[in-house]
């Protein structure tokens, strides 16, 4: 093997890489917020709403979960303009990722709500709590705790999948790779380095999520 590895040539592009990391973090954070809101609403529609709403929610979840994100992005970015809906690449990316995460998190949240035993809900009602109070004080915490691992894994997956939006030219870490590649022609080094940066991001996400889990859900020894 006589390939001459030149990772050092990437160092000149530190700023681009840092910018890419920040953009990916921003995009992921915004997607998580919007996706969670969609997820909660859709999960509520699937568990508690009357027929038509339930049907709409089910169609949404199944459609998104059974088609590739790439094609969803193409439809939003290339298809919708023919209906007069025009988005910038970044807007299309945020929209596509949020709609995608919304469907997956709706399923996770629904499972969480259903995992809280009916007897817990009854115990709340028997104490005179109304539906909202039972949800807020009895169900919410228990459901969140039970779905936390699945939900945060989904967030990490989302962060990794956000690389796909580079295909429509949205600005984030993976997009920086093609830029640096076009300047340096060191494709292998560029994509290896970028992939390793994603690995680091995964580790950071995991530690943060674990930290949150410990501080919120793990019970302190008796006071």
């Amino acid at each position: 093997m006589n390939y001459d590895f030149r990772f050092s040539s990437l160092l000149a592009y530190r700023d681009e890489l840092v910018e890419g990391v920040l953009l990916t973090l921003q995009l992921s954070a915004a997607t998580i917020v919007i996706g969670l809101v969609i997820g909660v609403v859709v999960a509520a529609m699937r568990t508690g709403a009357p027929g038509p709403f339930k049907a709409i929610a089910t169609v949404y979840v199944e459609t998104i979960r059974n088609t590739p994100l790439l094609v969803q992005l193409f439809i939003i970015f290339f298809g919708l303009p023919s209906l007069g809906l025009r988005f910038t690449a970044n807007e299309a990316a945020l929209l596509g990722l949020s709609v995608n995460l919304g469907a997956y998190s709706a399923e996770i949240i629904r499972a969480g709500i259903e995992s809280v035993r009916k007897s817990q809900i009854e115990a709340g009602h028997a104490l005179g709590m109304n539906g909202y109070q039972v949800f807020r004080y009895v169900i919410l915490f228990q459901a969140l705790k039970s779905i936390y691992p699945a939900l945060t894994s989904q967030f990490i997956l989302l962060m990794l999948m956000s690389s796909i939006v580079s295909t429509i030219g949205a600005n984030e870490l993976f997009h920086q790779a093609s830029f640096i590649d076009s300047r340096t022609f060191r494709s292998f080094e560029v994509y290896s380095a970028i992939t390793l940066i994603y690995l680091c991001l995964t580790l950071v996400f995991r530690s943060v999520f674990l930290g949150i889990y410990w501080s919120v859900f793990v019970r302190r020894p008796a006071r």
């Binding site: 093997m1 459609t63 193409f74 298809g79 023919s82 690389s163 292998f188 992939t195 994603y198």
Partner: protein, 216 residues
């Protein structure tokens, strides 16, 4: 030259779908074989083997498929091998599938009760015999639904092979789009084809899951 999106285009997409399916099958088979080894390494009572397997799984699951795809696409030429998009894609998706399948199957293997290990050990079976004759057969049933579920993920992810120029369903859609410029109808058709395949498989997975739950 711009023309209308017509029925011959749908045929074109359906023909390209063969490549999506082929890529999925090849990756699932090769990936599954690797996964079997990784899953066993993950559970054998030998720390270094466990660490190796954990490291491998975390490495693959902690990086984007798109990155893996580019690394293999450009990586082969680093070693002086010139390979096409097909080989790069099959390699990348096999590696990707192997990590996820290994993790799924590990869960299945570990869900077999400890007493099964103990009682087969009491019969004088060696570790590998216990695994081969007692544990794996019991784990297979539990593992089938999540494995089918993962195949759905794999099918969707093979759409990414389009970015390295491999012509499967998504890439075929892009090509048609350049010729006809009817993006909405083309990509909706592409999505519909994916949906039919993935939704049927998802349903199979759910039905199997339910049957196993009832049986237990």
């Amino acid at each position: 030259m711009i023309r209308e999106f017509g029925s011959e285009d749908i045929l074109f997409l359906l023909l390209a779908t063969r490549w999506t399916i082929l890529l999925t099958l090849a990756s699932a088979l090769i990936g599954g074989t690797i996964a079997l080894v990784v899953a066993v390494l993950r559970i054998v009572p030998l720390r270094p083997a466990n660490w190796l397997a954990i490291g491998y799984i975390n490495l693959v699951q902690g990086t984007p498929v798109l990155g893996q795809l580019f690394i293999f696409f450009f990586g082969f030429s680093v070693f002086g091998w010139s390979v096409g998009a097909w080989t790069a894609a099959v390699t990348a998706f096999s590696i990707y599938a192997s990590a996820y399948l290994a993790e799924i199957w590990r869960g299945g293997l570990q869900s077999v009760p400890k007493t099964q290990w103990e009682s087969s050990a009491a019969l004088g079976l060696t570790y590998l015999q216990r695994l081969r004759y007692i544990i794996v057969p019991q784990a297979v049933r539990i593992n089938i639904p999540p494995t089918v579920g993962f195949i759905v993920q794999l099918i969707k992810n093979t759409s990414l092979a389009s970015v390295i120029g491999f012509v499967e369903l998504s890439r075929a859609g892009q090509m048609l789009n350049n010729a006809t410029f009817a993006p909405m109808s083309i990509y909706l058709t592409v999505a519909a084809i994916y949906f039919v395949i993935c939704y049927s498989l998802s349903n199979v997975s759910q039905r199997l899951e339910r049957r196993i739950h009832v049986a237990r």
